[in-house]
Symmetry: C2
Subunit: 217 residues, 2 copies
Amino acid sequence: MTLSTAQRVAGVLRDRIEGGGLPPGTRLSEEALGRDLGVSRNTLREAFRLLVHESLVVHRLNRGVFVRVVDAADVTDIYRVRTALECAGVRAAAGAGRPLREAVTAAVDEGERAAAGGDWQEVGSADLRFHRALAALSGSPRIDAAMDRLLAELRLAFHAMPSARRFHEPFLARNRAFVRLLEDGEYATAERELTTYLDDALKLILGALREREEENT
Amino acid sequence: MTLSTAQRVAGVLRDRIEGGGLPPGTRLSEEALGRDLGVSRNTLREAFRLLVHESLVVHRLNRGVFVRVVDAADVTDIYRVRTALECAGVRAAAGAGRPLREAVTAAVDEGERAAAGGDWQEVGSADLRFHRALAALSGSPRIDAAMDRLLAELRLAFHAMPSARRFHEPFLARNRAFVRLLEDGEYATAERELTTYLDDALKLILGALREREEENT
DNA sequence: TATTGAGAATTGTTGAACAATATCTTAGCC
DNA sequence: GGCTAAGATATTGTTCAACAATTCTCAATA
């Protein structure tokens, strides 16, 4: 057993949350969950702390933990940080090692292959890998970890997106064009394009969030 | 009782660590510390969790918690992330609100005042506030939080710096010049200067770390 | 010297008890 | 009827001691 009980429990909860089994806003009762998963309240609370650190749940004093609700302000902020980290990656691209640069191209390739096969779920995953690879060009473990946390948060918001295809399809060509800019060493242009790219994506998500908001009124 | 026992214990440990009473690498025995502080192991473990979240200690499964050792690779990485975040702040400076911009200037003012009074400890604090204010120009809560964690980590490495004055004095003028660039709207120049600024600071710290390393051989 | 295995030391997990806080219920009032 | 306030109930927060699981120590052995 190389994983502690708390880590295993956190993994189970993470899967349930990301799989939609525990929708945003759900309260996680210590007693009920502990009985369900067969662990003590103490261990469960330890698992909660791990998930709090991943921003998947929030902890309100004397009220318990709730599945994180990612609102428009959160998404906007996440995109601010993404822009900072991914732009830093682009600026480090020239000095980055070959494996790091190839990871970027590979993710774009995989996205196109998935699109050809009609697997839009996988197109989404490849897109996240693409952006993570972009930030990873910095060669910084802390940036990698921060990026993972950000994308995990973002996945919570993606539950609101009606169609993976409508959201991802327009970006396939932009990803390809962007990679070409990197390969040609057009870093300044690439950075500008990336900024507007992320801004466009943000607007799409905010639009979807607003629509869902109006539905629930 | 507005502070839990665990929080008090964490405070005691934090003081001991930052005061040098518990040098980096020290293992914090649950039983010995618990007896020493008069709390149960469980409470002590809760305190440990708080400190882990602050990056002051690390937790290794089945081995216990150790006072964090910040090595050259860590410092290098921290400066990579700082560069990304502070540069993002500079690029957002034009659109940032007045209070955010004034906070940058205020920190530089306070640094100069402290230097005039010979309080080099306070010069160091003001310098940290200056860089935090720089990153805060982005107006992003997540960037603010990340910056706080980074600077807390960095404080651990500063224990290796022999003289606060020798380290901070040369940067007083650079801080002032940098603020002037911001006020004049010379953002591109400011960003370039900031990059070399952080690079120079990194080299100084790495040099001090190397010297301390050689002493301990 | 390197290895191995039993025992010691240490951390991981649990369940319980009690305290503090929040939520729900209900009785009384306007 | 609707509203407020007091009390009852449920939930989380904190601490403890005991037991399980893991790692470490160190002598015995090849």
